[in-house]
Amino acid sequence: MTAASYVPPNVLPPLLQKFAPLLKRKWFRELVLMPPTLTRRRFSNKTEDYGVFQPSQIASIGQLSIYVQDIERSRRWYEQLGGLRHSRTCEQESHPFKPGWSIRCCYMSAAEHEECLVLVEECDPDGKVTVPSGMSFFHTAFELEGNRLEDVLAFSDQAKNAGFSRNYGPVRHNSEPPLGDGETGGNVACYFYDPDYHNVEFCGAMDTIENYRARYGETKGSARA
């Protein structure tokens, strides 16, 4: 099949992608945040002020299913960039909640996560594959093997050398130079658009209760504003 070349409205244009690394410069972030600074509306993210890191009812995200226009094209992308492996592709089946519609599913596995991703071709009652809108999720994230800063940087180089274009990164989602972009979470990350413009993050070294406190001690977010 020939996939339609629809670009969702939330996709970062190539020109802006070239300027995105400026977010790693503090002067640039300060410039962008000047209006709320001058009007005294600015605040810190105050991550460590929230009551987090208690046991939860939920252990993990088990699976994600996303619409794609062409399973084979998307499968190759996830195999070649992310190293995911193909588990199985199923025959056409009824759509779970749209009467008269159908889906075809391709199950992909990561190194430590069986069938974590389902690539879904959705067909309308006329058999036409739908075009994903790009407006259901902002991005989804895979943790990389090794889970260290060095692993993400090596992955980023590996992807670049293989011909994949990042739309953002590598960055670290904190305020520490040279990679910090002023965001929160501490994860080192690089982002890519898949063939349907789903934004996919590959990351590692996200903050946990242990390493967050190792970095900041008991310093409250308000003290780091």
Binding site: Q57, A59, I61, C105, H113, L117, F138, G146, D151
Partner: protein, 149 residues
């Protein structure tokens, strides 16, 4: 795109976090915190984050208790979200008690539930329980009881 690599040296280990669009942050935040007891871990707002200011977005981060964030809710202040790029996502309940607790809270909140897995071709281990429901923006969420090995 010209791709040369057959098998990457460094590969994805697992799906780690997911960031969904919502239309009303307060409504969705109340829903996820009440139903799943997720913990609010951070806020990226156009008045606190340069990236959010440039992208016209606001992001609320939630933790499952180990990582800084596992599920995030994002409101785009210019664009309208929809359900046309994601079929569903699955949350793994820690154990039997967690699964039953979520199910009981869903009933108490008046949320319609659908038994079993959402996609017919999805695998289910013997004895493993699952049900599905929709969040306030009609995102489909599947809840599965994690089985102890």
């Amino acid at each position: 795109m010209n791709v040369h690599v057959e098998k990457p040296h460094i590969a994805a280990a697992k799906l780690q976090h997911h960031v969904i669009y919502v239309s009303d942050l307060k409504r969705s935040k109340d829903f996820y915190m009440k139903l799943f007891e997720l913990q609010f871990s951070a806020l990226n707002h156009p008045d606190s984050s340069a990236a959010m200011r440039l992208s016209n977005q606001e992001m609320h981060f939630f933790s499952f208790g180990f990582y800084h964030h596992d599920l995030c809710l994002v409101k785009h202040h210019k664009l309208k979200m929809d359900n046309n790029s994601m079929l569903h996502f699955t949350l793994m309940a820690h154990d039997k008690a967690a699964f039953d607790g979520i199910r009981a809270r869903a009933t108490a909140m008046g949320i319609p539930v659908r038994d079993g897995r959402l996609i017919a071709s999805a695998k289910t281990s013997p004895g493993q329980r699952a049900f599905c429901l929709q969040d306030p923006d009609r995102h489909w969420i599947e809840i599965i009881e994690e089985q102890r090995r």
